[in-house]
Amino acid sequence: MSAVPAPLAGAHGAWLVARREIRDQGRDWRILAPIAMLTLFFPLLMNFTAQAAVDFVNRYGAPIIGERLIPFLLLVVGFFPISISLVIALESFAGERERLSLEPLLVTPLSNMQLYVGKMLASLVAPVLAAYLGIVVYSAGLILRLDWRPPVPLLVQVLLLTTAQALVMVAGAVVISSLTTSVRAANLLASFIIIPVAQLVILESMIMFWGQYSVLWYIVIGLLVTSALLLRMGIHLFNREELLGRELDVLNLAWVGRVVRTEFGAGAGNLKAWYVGLFRRSLPRTLPALGLVALVMAAGYGIGLWAARQWTLPAEMLTLQADPQLVLANMRELGFLQPQGWLWVLSNNLRAVLLASVLGAFTFGVLALVLLTTPVIIVGYIAGNLALAGASAGTVLGALVLPHALVEIPAAMLAGAAILRWGMVVVSPARGRSLGHHWLAGFAEWARLMVGLVVPLLAVAAAIEVFLTPLIAVRVLFGG
């Protein structure tokens, strides 16, 4: 027996895995045929489409449509080949598992990182190169047929956007593939990637037709950040044991209920002990997320002030002159100063928090932060406009917002932090438990904070908003 060589260096190991798969793809006509079609035939079809569209719109004196369509088709030509990367990535681990070739691979001394990155590279290389080639073919066609040379910054932007989109799709698909037992299950879960990416492409097309190409840079950055998050999540979750040991994708509701119950109760025997646990353990764990939410909300207020300078309201819109009794009567008509109003405000706020939670749970908490920060942006916008109109923003906001905001904003921040923690739990869960277990534990922690603090605080805030704020506002602003 000979001495055991040192383990393979990171990049070499990853490339070894990728190279084998790329070579394998090169022998599979089911992958080669669509790539060849989308790389060579499809760009030529797009050239024809561009020519026909430009000729058509020029006839009606709307050349701008043609001008905007040509760069958009550049993006489309790049997107189609990279869509194949999704198919390859989805079967990267699940397919090997089905073909029973995974165990020999997992027993090699290749590290988790090498295996994972190797699989990602294998899914990326061929489709991305095909996309680049497609873009080149389309661009060449444009030059030859329409004498239209794509500006270099636009070309770079489209190439980067194509690459970043492929990265996101592959990073997400490899995560799915490494967590499912079959290609079928992976394909079913692929809608979590396909739907957001489809929405993104629609957004990108709108931006391109709008002509705001600089906005696309932000999308590139956002996609790269998302890819990095997904990559980190995938490597963190990559577990040889789970890959080999998981046999069934059966929903075990009894187990789900047990995990949630245990984590929600946290071993407390009574309500007092439960609250003690909430304040001593759950709340301190939430503090970093709370800090981040505070920063985002502060930034949101700043954005509101900035927006006020950009899109200033006419000063007359901000004039507050009315009969105090009439204001109060109008408020009563709207439901203020009445129990039904309290219920309405509370249910409204709860709906917003629940919507933010659902969105946040599947977007690493990002959409929840966007949703919860929006009211703060609006308040900042109004404050900015008041200041620009020469009114006392402090007095107006102090009377109209501050009384209930003193309770509502901490509740919203806490909700945001709880959602953020829940959404981020999949990015870096502690080792030793399955992703499902972590996600359920995250949900239970979110539920503890919601039930224990957020909902009671929102109830108090709604009471203040309905019964107290109108009286203070009328007294301060209308002298009633």
């Binding site: 027996m1 000979s2 055991v4 060589p5 040192a6 383990p7 393979l8 190991g13 070894l16 084998r20 070579r23 394998d24 022998r27 599979d28 073909r99 029973l100 070739s101 995974l102 165990e103 020999p104 691979l105 997992l106 027993v107 090699t108 001394p109 290749l110 590290s111 040889r240 044991e241 080999l244 040991g245 187990w255």
Partner: protein, 312 residues
């Protein structure tokens, strides 16, 4: 005493609420082959996977080639040759490419890889097929190539799950010969198999696992003695017994008899058989045959795993 290359103490594996392997103790030294037997779902593959650092033990400990399976999984994997239950080949590749890929994963220098590829393919009769795609290989050829893959990095420890399951008799014979040679090269080898004859011929020790628990270990002979009792001899005479049973020497006990035959059990056949034959000769009783009653590992296995063997 030579240090064991595989050493498991209280090795346990739980999958949620299910205990797949329960407190298995096992030691395999260099140059030793242990056959791991047991019904389907007994925990053989799970045990093998834990020893290959593919599964993390829930309890107990195991060291393989001097490395802890939990703490040094990469070092363990670099020193283990695992033949998986399913060959799991990449069917679009050729055997050369396939072995080059795994050689790369084990970081074998090019020259070493080429030498081993050539030698192992020849040893297993696959040299003539090295340019063919693996999809064109027969089941047996695939199994042999999977074994070559497991041997490629020259590991001191081999874990072989059903090494001859898909093979024709000639190929199986060839593989058994290879395993024997590997034993002579001082490797520690665990073979999981349902082929009890193969286990008996190949293994130095047998370990029987059922419901995740190791329920019997020992050499084939010791297990037979332990499970089936003392060795039995059958005597066949030319004529009816004529009181031959009364001539049985001390230490031998009559088990059964017929008109011209009798069966007895004895602790030490080397002592009791010659004495019995002498006594029969002196009594003028003609002996046709005296032979040991064949007791197979299958008898032991069936008894141990609790399934009654249908009577002959």
């Amino acid at each position: 005493m030579t240090e064991a290359l595989i050493e498991a103490v209280g090795l346990t594996k739980d999958f949620d609420d299910f205990r797949a392997v329960a407190a298995v103790d096992l030691a395999v030294g260099p140059g030793e082959v242990v056959a791991l037997l047991g019904p389907n779902g007994a925990g053989k593959t799970t045990t093998i996977r834990m020893l290959a650092s593919l599964l993390t033990p829930s309890g107990g400990a195991a060291r393989v080639a001097g490395f802890d399976v939990r703490r040094d999984p990469d070092a363990v994997r670099a020193r283990v040759g695992l033949l998986t239950e399913h060959h799991g080949l990449y069917t679009r590749m050729r055997s050369e490419e396939y072995l080059a890929f795994f050689g790369g994963a084990y970081r074998l220098p090019r020259g070493v890889l080429q030498e081993r590829t050539t030698r192992l393919l020849e040893q297993f009769g696959l040299a003539g097929d090295r340019r063919r795609r693996l999809g064109e290989y027969s089941k047996g050829m695939r199994q042999k190539l999977a074994l070559v893959r497991a041997l490629l990095h020259d590991p001191p420890v081999l874990l072989l799950d059903e090494p001859t399951s898909a093979m024709d008799p000639a190929s199986a014979f060839q593989v058994r010969g290879s395993i024997d040679r590997l034993r002579q090269e001082s490797r520690a080898i665990i073979v999981c198999t349902h082929n009890l004859k193969e286990a008996e011929n190949l293994a130095d020790r047998i370990a029987i696992i059922r419901g995740g628990q190791l329920i019997a270990t020992g050499t084939a002979t010791s297990l037979k003695q332990e499970v089936l009792g003392r060795r039995q001899m059958e005597l066949r005479l030319a004529r009816p017994l004529d009181g031959a049973a009364g001539l049985l020497p001390q230490g031998a006990r009559l088990v059964a008899s017929g008109a011209d035959w009798l069966r007895y059990e004895t602790e030490d056949p080397r002592d009791s058989n010659p004495r019995f034959l002498r006594a029969l000769g002196q009594a003028g009783i003609d002996v046709v045959t005296l032979a040991e009653v064949e007791r197979s590992l299958e008898d032991v296995y069936l008894q141990v795993v609790g399934r009654a063997r249908p009577s002959a």
